[in-house]
Amino acid sequence: MHESRAFKTLRIVGLTLLTLFTVLPLYVMVISGLKPLRDVQGKFTWWPTTLTFRPYVDIWTTIPLGRYFMNSLIVSLAATAASVFLAILASYAVSRYRFRGREPFRVTVLSTQMFPGILFLLPLYLIFVNIGRLTGFPLVGTRTGLIITYLTFSLPFAIWMLVGYLDTIPRDLDEAAHVDGATPLQTLFRVILPSAAPGIAAVSIYSFMTAWGETLFASVMTNAQSTTLAIGLRQYSTQVNVYWNQLMAASIVVSIPVVLGFLLLQRFLVQGLTSGAVK
């Protein structure tokens, strides 16, 4: 397509501005994580007086960051695995079968996106407390409670996206498997799933990001032992001092797993969006 000179200029100017807006905070984060404490306690400077990696060492001892990291990792991985597994089963049903309640199910699934979390935060907390009291299996203050909560957060969107993805896989595959004598579940796990791998990758990274970044429920449902990163990072600010350099270093460390995962898998996420959500 022919591009006029004006459009090329607009592209350069526009993309430069958008990039500056995006990158400035990232620059502040990176450079401040390499500063000694005194550099972040006065006026902001664009370059440290001495470059140091100390903050990356200190973050692990100032607060129990390792424990929070493990908590977030366990909770996010478990919630992702469970959510993706449930979404695979549900989306296969929605994609391959017609049954009463199929359309209401699809609509209900997406409409959970609009529920204000604040509406079911307290009831859920009370329900979890009571389940714990009745069964002796504590859900509040444990990672299990968070896992159960988080898996349902990503489930609706995961189902929605996977249905869109499975719909693009030709039904001839099912037919062939059926002719060969495979049961529906065998068909799903041996024939359909391998073809849906990109969709599953996209859903997985989405679920993981959702769990890794959640704050509202983590602020109520965790205790000192099960604190996740979202809540734990606050402890770098104390009454007397804010360790901005360590806070920036820690922000980078906790961002790396999700940012890398997202950037590696974003191609599939886009496919998932076009085939599922945007239809």
Binding site: G14, P25, Y97, G101, F105, P116, G117, P123, S255, S275
Partner: protein
């Protein structure tokens, strides 16, 4: 979901292929499959959604009719009924609670509209600029997506540092550019509103970019070629082809952005910790704070129910209006692409996703 379980007994099950493929390809009727299989597959997902979303939400509605104070919290089932009392408190514009709620509602609307407009605008702008191929496009695209990929709290913490009056980058930058004296309080008073919007746009616009770029990719290239041959300039192409063809994408994108920002909790919660200034007192954090400060969860629940009702009504109206609009906004006139595109849309999208 409730419908699903209640109709379990009256299952009528057919392969989807019959409906989807009238051509008959792959449309043979399947046998041997138990009727309850789809419900069995759905059951675990439905169960967890019931446990975490539906039941607590119904409980929340019920709680909004109770005098649920601190005293009754542990045995909330015995709390006395409040009738519509909690709603009266929330609606009473002469009372302090009602006035604060109304102000928070206004702030939230302004915040959502500003965030969605800016996030969508920047996303659309970026997506159009990133069309075509040029050196470094892939890298740039990846870089621009980083704020969305980061955990919310990490991104907001960085902004909190940047907006700090004494140690922050923003004041230093503005002073060095001789725009201000570098003493501005960005997290207090009216400035707090601007700051909150900027932070939320910074985080959200990459999502709009990602979605719109995907949408643009699904528009076939020959449409543009035909348009160029017909002498349409960039703006005309955008106005008459791109925008109408992106309508289904935009319809969902704008709605999702709106619902997200309207329920935003993270941004003010992390940006301001406990002391949220009135100008950034979004509904979610307002309800959260007023519940946990006054320990009156009945009123808090009533406010949450009102929030949900409002979102339901807005969503319904939005979908009605935009769906009707889409029929009128179909491309017309000599420059319009052939009508087959829309009919073929679904299959083409499917092909694009498979490719």
């Amino acid at each position: 979901m409730a419908t699903t379980s209640s109709t379990r007994a009256r299952t009528r099950q057919e392969p989807v292929g019959v409906e989807r493929r009238p051509s008959g390809r792959g449309g043979r009727r399947r046998s041997l499959q138990p009727r309850y299989l789809p419900f069995l597959l759905l059951a675990p997902a439905v169960l967890f959604e019931l446990l975490v979303h539906v039941i607590p939400m119904l409980a929340g509605v019920w709680m909004s009719f109770l005098k649920l104070t601190q005293f009754y919290l542990r045995r909330w089932t015995q709390a006395p009924s409040a009738g519509f009392g909690n709603y009266q408190v929330a609606f009473d514009l002469n009372g302090e609670v009602g006035r604060a709620l109304m102000r928070s509602f206004g702030v939230t609307i302004a915040y959502s509209l500003a965030s969605v407009a800016l996030a969508w605008g920047l996303g659309m702008f970026g997506a159009v600029l990133l069309q075509g191929s040029f050196r470094g496009r892939g890298w740039l695209r990846t870089l621009l997506l980083v704020p969305y990929a980061m955990p919310v709290y990490a991104g907001v913490i960085v902004w909190k540092f940047m907006l700090d009056r004494d140690n922050g980058m923003v004041n230093t930058l503005l002073a060095q550019l001789h725009l201000t004296n570098g003493q501005t309080f960005w997290l207090l008073g009216g400035n707090a509103f601007v700051s909150t919007v900027v932070v939320s746009v910074w985080r959200l616009w990459p999502f709009a970019l990602l979605t719109l770029m995907a949408g643009l990719q699904s528009i076939p290239n020959d449409v543009y070629e035909a348009a160029s041959v017909d002498g349409a300039n960039r703006w005309q192409q955008f106005r008459h082809f791109t925008l109408p063809m992106l309508h289904p994408v935009n319809q969902v994108l704008v709605l999702v952005l709106f619902l997200w920002t309207f329920n935003h909790f993270n941004v003010p919660y992390i940006l301001f910790s406990q002391a949220v200034p009135p100008s950034a007192d979004l509904l979610s954090i307002h309800i959260y704070n007023s519940s946990f400060i006054t320990w009156n969860f009945g009123v808090g629940s009533a406010m949450s129910v009102l929030l949900l009702l409002f979102l339901l009504v807005v969503t319904a109206i939005y979908l009605l209006v935009t769906s009707r609009g889409s029929r009128e906004r179909r491309p017309r006139g000599p420059l319009a692409p052939t009508a087959t595109y829309r009919q073929d849309e679904e299959s083409r999208d499917a092909e694009a996703a498979r490719a």
